[in-house]
């Protein structure tokens, strides 16, 4: 009974906060409304008994949204929402896409023939998650890790305007490097 109450409170809060992302003018508020929504989702996952995944969702989403707020404020016009603005674009097209996707998914829920449950949940879901990631899914995770890492490196390379000739001079001999913001490593 109490689990049902918690489920519905979190579910309603998650959806309501998700709606507010598009209602708020301020980028900071929109970002943190999204964070609230994701924290509620993390709570739902905890409710499923998947402790590790639930807490990791809370952890990662908090860090991600804290960083995302910076970019939202940086790139959007009127970041503080002091002037009226709208986060909605292409309203008609978006409405059509949303309704059709929702209809497709909802009909899938109703029409699919769901299999009966086989087996029970593992006693330690965190352990079995780890065994799965480090066992049968090892290749997936390693590939994914490399792909993400390559993306990060190439994004930084594309984004930075300065190269080693800017840092170390034409003959690459200037030490320490000529950086606009010197760091603490003394390179």
């Amino acid at each position: 009974m109490s689990e049902d109450i918690v489920f519905w409170v979190l579910a309603v809060l998650a959806v309501a906060a998700g709606v507010m992302v598009f209602r708020f003018d301020s980028m900071a508020r929109a970002t943190y409304a999204l964070l609230l929504s994701l924290l509620c989702v993390g709570g739902e996952v905890l409710l499923l008994g998947l402790d590790y995944l639930g807490v990791v969702i809370v952890l990662m989403m908090t860090l991600e949204m804290a960083i995302m707020a910076v970019f939202m404020v940086m790139y959007m016009m009127n970041p503080a929402g002091l002037m009226p603005m709208s986060m909605l674009h292409n309203k008609k097209g978006a409405a059509v896409i949303c309704v059709s996707v929702f209809a497709a998914l909802a009909s899938g829920v109703l029409l699919a023939r769901w299999p009966a449950r086989r087996g029970g949940p593992p006693t330690d879901p965190t352990m079995s998650l780890g065994m799965s990631l480090m066992g049968p899914q090892m290749l997936t995770m390693v590939t994914l890790g490399m792909a993400l890492f390559a993306t990060i490196v190439s994004t930084v390379v594309l984004a930075t305007r300065r190269g080693r000739y800017d840092r170390f001079g034409d003959d690459l001999r200037t030490r320490p490097a000529d950086d606009p913001v010197p760091g603490g490593g003394g390179r």
């Binding site: 943190y32 964070l35 952890l59 860090l63 002091l82 760091g183």
Partner: protein, 314 residues
Amino acid sequence: MSEAVPPWAVVILPIALVSVAVVTVGFDAVLSAAAVRGRPGSLRELGFRAAAPLREVLRLLVQPSRRTTAADTALGRIGVVLVPVAAVLAGAVLPLGFRSLSDPTVGIVWFNAMEALAWAAVWLTGWGPNSALSLIGGYRFLAQGLAYELPHMFAITTAALGAESLQVGEVVAAQDGLWFAVWMPVAFFVYLLSAMAMSFWGPFGHPLGRDAAGGAAMELSGVDRLVFLGGRWLLMVVTAGVSVPLFLGGGHGPLLPAWAWTLVKTALVLAALVAGRRLLPTLRMERYTEFAWLVLVPATLLQALVVAVVVLNR
């Protein structure tokens, strides 16, 4: 390992954390006063100096609050309140002796997740008042977070790796003989650094720096200021407290009962952190970021590798 606690412990936990924080603040105030005005002449004067933070609390309680133009009060308030709330929630896995309020199987990740909330909280506090210097303070803390969070995560992961469990009680149990601080010194050292960085304090006080007129806390006044700065002390107490079960053997120790050992060890870690503030100058974040990514991240990874090899060969 951990035993069940009575339900009233939920009320006791914040009270206990606040009491420890008050004692620590008093200790810090005594050191501050001694540095400015010399040694105290009498025991009475010492007590007067130690009570200075409490007088400040009373002052803040009656101080009228200051308002700024076009402030985002809601977000600012959430940020201010989130600091102590995150600290107390993180404290839920903190064992006194061998008992903690709750000892979930993923306690270490829970602690990490709750302290991550403080990240968001400081930025929100800086954003709220619509004031440039306050916002700069908030951004500084995000940069600081990018510097300290990764080495910190590797450090606590190393402790979990040594115990082969994410449960704080299991980590304590695994240190029955040898403390993790002894054979994971790098992880312990990095943990202490990030404990200071997380409570944006001492050498990591740049987000609230004087060069930014108080940074993220600049526009805070009255109760807001009390809750925010008090929450920072709570964060420090909790992070210092968690270093005890993770690295210093928790309640394990000869003669004294487990709860006493926990208190003694926590007090020593807190004293080290307070001393660190006096001995180290404030670091600018670009300096710490480069150091963290080029030195601390590889060092903690190597430490984790060593521990992993040891654990696999056990």
